[in-house]
């Protein structure tokens, strides 16, 4: 199978010559010193997450981002070396959940939802409430603030909701003492944050088992989890090749192919409309997810649905890598049942007048087209997502 492509053989040789390329890169994600070369490493996390969720990466944005990084990168990181700084900070000026959120978000490898979770954990810590009810109300307010910060982000609101459930579900009533209860909440909050931070690595370890030697994987969209899975598989000396879709309009496929090529994995770029053409050669499809909904389906970058449809019709497995904090209590019935996340499309040529452009950035893939979900809760079938959500929310 893997002898089919000449580039693949070439790569194998290359890799044998440079074993350093396939050195284990599974560093702990919470250490900011990630060895893998991130092309946008210098970019402020703000623009990076914006790019994630609105899928806009343009040159001027990058320039802005660079400027922003130069201005505040050092100061921000110096000012708050660790979350404990938040406590001292709250003494000097009123604590703001958005500030805390932004602080966490600037960490290059941290997803928006994890940043929100860490910020909420900090809210509990710095909260001056004296009763459980007050604390809960304050936490709710903070979570609402975070959610309203970006209403289109599913993972952000899902992360906030899950944190609220996970933390406040503990039977705090049984603690006589408020401080004991609060400590318990803090503990749970931090534990949840820790789980979320580790999620990507867990998923990578679960998912890489599914990559077998000589397989061809089609990847649609840029997802850090998928990249992590592929990285780990590559570092485990598995031989595979990647087909990357171009990922119009923001060319996420280019970014992914760049990262993978740096790892020494053979990559082929396809235009988005070549998915069906290439599907014959493909052994499995890997996608990430913006959000995993209650039906077990996913909401992801535009084009995931058609990729999954094609794969399903050709009996190829479709694997989704998604952290459990992306599980949202949504249940879209069809594509129009989502809150649209719009972004403009640059066609390169002026659009004729009177012509409409579909600017939605994501679509919904129903569960029957997905094979398995790799999550930090384990490898799940789509129907288990709802079970997990019920257990969490009921």
């Amino acid at each position: 199978m893997w002898g089919r492509s000449a580039s693949f053989l070439l790569d194998k040789r290359l890799r044998d010559q440079h074993p350093s390329l396939s050195s284990p890169s599974s560093s702990s994600p919470d250490s900011t010193m990630d060895p893998n070369p991130n092309p946008n490493h210098g970019v402020s996390a703000y623009y990076q997450t914006r790019a994630e969720h609105h899928a806009i990466v343009s040159s001027d944005w990058l320039a802005q981002a660079q400027a922003a990084v130069d201005r505040e990168d050092d100061t921000a990181l110096m000012e708050r070396p660790h979350a404990s700084a938040a406590v001292s900070l709250s003494a000097s000026k009123p604590f703001s959940v958005i500030d805390e959120f932004n602080y966490w978000r600037k960490k290059p490898d941290l997803a928006e939802a994890v940043a929100a979770i860490m910020a909420l954990a900090a809210v509990i810590r710095s909260c001056e409430a004296t009763t459980m009810m007050e604390l809960e109300i304050e936490l709710k307010k903070a979570s609402d603030t975070l959610k309203s910060w970006d209403t289109t982000s599913i993972s952000l609101s899902a992360g906030c909701d899950l944190f609220m459930r996970y933390v406040t579900r503990t039977s705090a009533v049984e603690y006589e003492d408020f401080h004991a209860a609060k400590l318990r909440l803090i503990e749970r909050g931090e534990k949840f944050g820790e789980i979320s931070m580790k999620a990507r690595r867990t998923i990578a370890m679960l998912g890489q088992d599914f990559v077998f030697d000589g397989c061809t994987i089609l990847v649609h969209g840029f997802s850090r989890v998928v990249l992590e899975v592929l990285k780990l598989a590559a570092s485990n000396r598995k031989l595979f090749r990647i087909f990357c879709t171009e990922g119009r309009p923001d060319k996420t496929g280019l970014r992914l192919s760049k990262e993978l090529a740096a790892l020494g994995v053979p990559v082929k770029l396809l235009i988005d409309s070549a998915v069906a053409y290439a599907m014959d050669e493909v052994d499995m499809v890997f996608v990430g997810a913006d959000g995993v909904v209650e039906s077990g389906g996913i909401i992801n970058m535009m084009g995931t649905y058609q990729t999954a449809l094609v794969a399903h019709s050709m009996n190829k497995p479709v694997y989704v890598a998604a952290e459990s904090y992306k599980f949202a209590r949504l249940y879209p019935l069809d594509q129009k049942d989502l809150e649209p996340a719009l972004h403009p499309i640059d066609f390169g040529v002026p659009i004729p007048s009177g012509v409409e452009v579909e600017t939605s950035a994501r679509d919904y893939t129903p569960p029957q087209y997905l094979t398995l979900l790799f999550t930090d809760l384990g490898v799940l079938t789509p129907s288990v997502v709802s079970d997990e959500l019920i257990q969490l929310y009921l």
Partner: protein, 668 residues
């Protein structure tokens, strides 16, 4: 090629086992227990232990065997042991001798034991310990076993049923039980208690003998009546049969005297509870009466309150379901109104309403039943020398069996009954009667309020978020939740149109149509024949359900499956609105094994069409069978979403809700 690498694994990634365990504690544990298979149901990670004993029986739960006084029985295990030895000793000959139509020996034994241990008449006062009860009831039950054997061996006739109910066998009983008693007494060398149990035993055995004789007499009378019925036309047979039944019954009860009359009735009622009791023990699927089992039908008929005539030309595939000639029960029942003293009038009223079809629909029937029970509990007073928990459970069971005779239970009612019996079983022994009654009444109120009224509101809130302006909503028949939803959506100001699909013979959709049009909602009315035509313009299908089963199958008014299938073919989302209390852990794959048969007359006759008289004399046509099914099962593939009070779920998540709901129910 690189020979360091292992050859390519051929295993499909889909089925490959992931043998990975993360160092972190919580996620891997969850993964190991839940991820590999979807059978998460078997491994609840939160460590919830739903007591399996109570909750396995699906439709109705029998009275708990010895829950209230269980702690009392614990310090005396030796007697239990002796009892079990005895059971084991009696089983083998039974197995050899028993004829196939009878129920299995072990279950029969269980029934006998349970029946007697439950029988309130045995325990002299509620202060008696469980052990004493078991001991006292034991000889009687084994005596019965002996009688059965004797009957089967000695009689050897073709009708085993009648062979052991004959009076002669009943007469031999006391002697046998005397012997048995000797054996038992020898076995448990309990000096003090024995003399007491001995005395009781004699009276008990006598009473049993008496009952046995009455029963056989009654059976004989019935059988002769049945012979008449078969030959005569149904209409003519009604008075004769009922008269006979009545003539036999009252004197028999009078003979017993006031105190014994009650146990005889309650023991008769308890027979109804046998199947669930036994099934719970053996952990087998629901105890549904199979109406093609002649012997059991005969037995059931003998203790039936409502006299029903079986339909003549029954559809072969549905012989296991009760098929009666409609309209025959009502007058009979009405005449009995003042004679049925064990039945509370409110229960009686509800039964009549079921029978006449005045109350229909899962929620309405359930609420009516619960309110009737509530009234019955209000008027209830514990008879002397009886334990409230047991007597009340028996009472409720007798009401339930009466209601079943009027119309088979809906699953919603079954769940509500289970809830109520659970509540009764959980009552503390020490609670005074007035308090018990008020707490049960408030429990019933709470059930109606939380599980039905508020649940409906929550469902509507959820469902209305799925209605967008410009939608065309299709609904089938009449579902009260869907009706409330449409009205609410209209009130909220959504712009939509409704297509009401209806079907003969009930034409329930017209009721909905009438109400919606009165509210000013834009409606289209059509029959199910036009479903494929009308489905083109529909954007959402909202359906109600009688029950949702744990494989996601939706059990609903007949025709629903057809609508859902067409909608699925047209890629229109199908949304099922169903309260969580109607969920059931049963799995059903077709509409045959469990269903309800309606009156075949209503499909053979079209009201207002005198010219359509081709089937007027259908009773005479031997090779014509009419089938009027009431429910059908919609496979989960056709269902996009189930909206419950717990939110919007895929059909695959029903088992989770069933599990959670049951646990919650036990907590209440």
């Amino acid at each position: 090629m690189d020979n360091r690498r292992p050859p390519r694994t051929v295993s499909d990634p889909k089925v490959r086992q992931v043998g990975f365990v993360t160092p972190g504690a919580a996620p891997p544990a969850r993964y190991l227990s839940e991820a590999p298979t979807a059978a998460a149901a078997s491994s609840p990670p939160s460590g919830d232990t739903a007591p399996p004993a109570i909750s396995t029986s699906p439709v109705m739960i029998p009275p708990p065997r010895h829950s209230p006084s269980a702690p009392l029985a614990v310090p005396n295990p030796s007697r239990r042991d002796s009892l079990q030895i005895q059971v084991g000793g009696y089983n083998p000959p039974e197995v050899l001798l028993e004829s196939p139509p009878l129920t299995s020996p072990s279950s029969r034994m269980d029934d006998a034991v349970s029946q007697f241990s439950e029988d309130p008449s045995i325990s002299p006062c509620n202060g008696r310990s469980e052990a004493a009860k078991v001991a006292s009831s034991f000889p009687g039950s084994s005596g019965e076993m002996m009688v059965m054997k004797a009957g089967i061996v000695g009689g050897g006739s073709n009708t085993p049923k009648s062979s052991w109910t004959t009076a002669s066998v009943a007469k031999t009983r006391p002697g046998i039980s005397e012997k048995e008693r000797g054996a038992v007494v020898g076995m448990q060398n309990d000096g003090a208690g024995v003399s007491k149990t001995l005395k009781e035993k004699t009276t008990k055995a006598e009473r049993r003998a008496l009952q046995e004789a009455q029963r056989s007499a009654k059976a004989a009378a019935k059988e002769s009546g049945a012979g008449v019925k078969l030959s005569a036309a149904p209409g003519g047979a009604v008075p004769a049969n009922t008269k006979q039944g009545k003539v036999v019954k009252p004197p028999a009860q009078k003979k017993d005297g006031p105190q014994v009359a009650n146990p005889s009735v309650s023991s008769e009622k308890k027979v109804v509870d046998r199947p669930p009791e036994k099934d719970r023990k053996k952990d087998v699927p629901p105890p549904r009466m199979q109406f093609d089992d002649i012997h059991r039908v005969e037995k059931a008929k003998r203790r039936a309150v409502v006299y029903q005539f079986e339909a003549k030309n029954r559809v072969e595939l549905f012989r296991h379901l009760p098929q009666y000639i409609h309209g025959t029960q009502l007058p009979d029942l009405e005449t009995k109104f003042f004679q049925l003293d064990p039945m509370h009038p409110s229960v009686y009223k509800v039964g009549l309403q079921y029978l006449s079809g005045n109350i229909s629909g899962g929620n309405a029937r359930c609420i009516a039943m619960l309110l009737a029970f509530r009234e019955a509990i209000r008027d209830y007073s514990t008879p002397p020398e009886k334990a409230l928990v047991r007597d009340l459970t028996a009472k409720i069971s007798s009401y339930v069996s009466f209601l079943i005779e009027c119309r088979p239970l809906s699953i919603s009612m079954g769940n509500a009954i289970r809830f109520l019996k659970n509540r009764i079983a959980k009552l503390p022994d020490t609670m005074p009667e007035s308090e018990v009654k008020s707490s049960l009444q408030s429990d019933i109120d709470r059930f109606i309020n939380e599980k039905i009224v508020i649940a409906d509101k929550v469902i509507i809130r959820h469902a209305v978020t799925k209605i967008r302006d410009g939608d065309v909503l299709l609904t089938y028949g009449l579902s009260c939740v869907v009706e409330m939803l449409l009205v609410y959506a209209h009130e909220v100001g959504k712009q939509f149109r409704v297509v009401i699909v209806d079907s003969r013979p009930k034409l329930e959709g017209q009721v909905l149509l009438h109400r919606l049009v009165a509210k000013g909602i834009n409606c289209t009315y059509t029959h199910v024949n036009a479903i494929s035509y009308i489905m083109h313009e529909v954007t959402l299908v909202f359906l109600g359900a009688a029950s949702v089963l744990s494989n996601g199958t939706v059990y609903s008014r007949v025709g629903t499956a057809c609508v859902a299938m067409v909608a699925n073919a047209f890629r229109v989302p199908v949304l099922i609105c169903c309260e969580a209390y109607k969920f059931h852990e049963r799995v059903q794959l077709d509409s045959i094994c469990s269903n309800e048969l309606g009156d075949p007359d209503v499909i053979s006759k079209v009201p207002g069409r005198k010219d359509l008289n081709h089937l007027d004399n259908r009773a005479d046509i031997e090779n014509l069978q009419l089938l009027n099914l009431t429910y059908d099962a919609t496979p989960s593939d056709f269902v996009s979403m189930i909206i419950t009070d717990y939110g919007m779920l895929p059909p695959s998540s029903v088992p989770v809700i069933v599990r959670e709901y049951r646990r919650e129910n036990l907590w209440i």
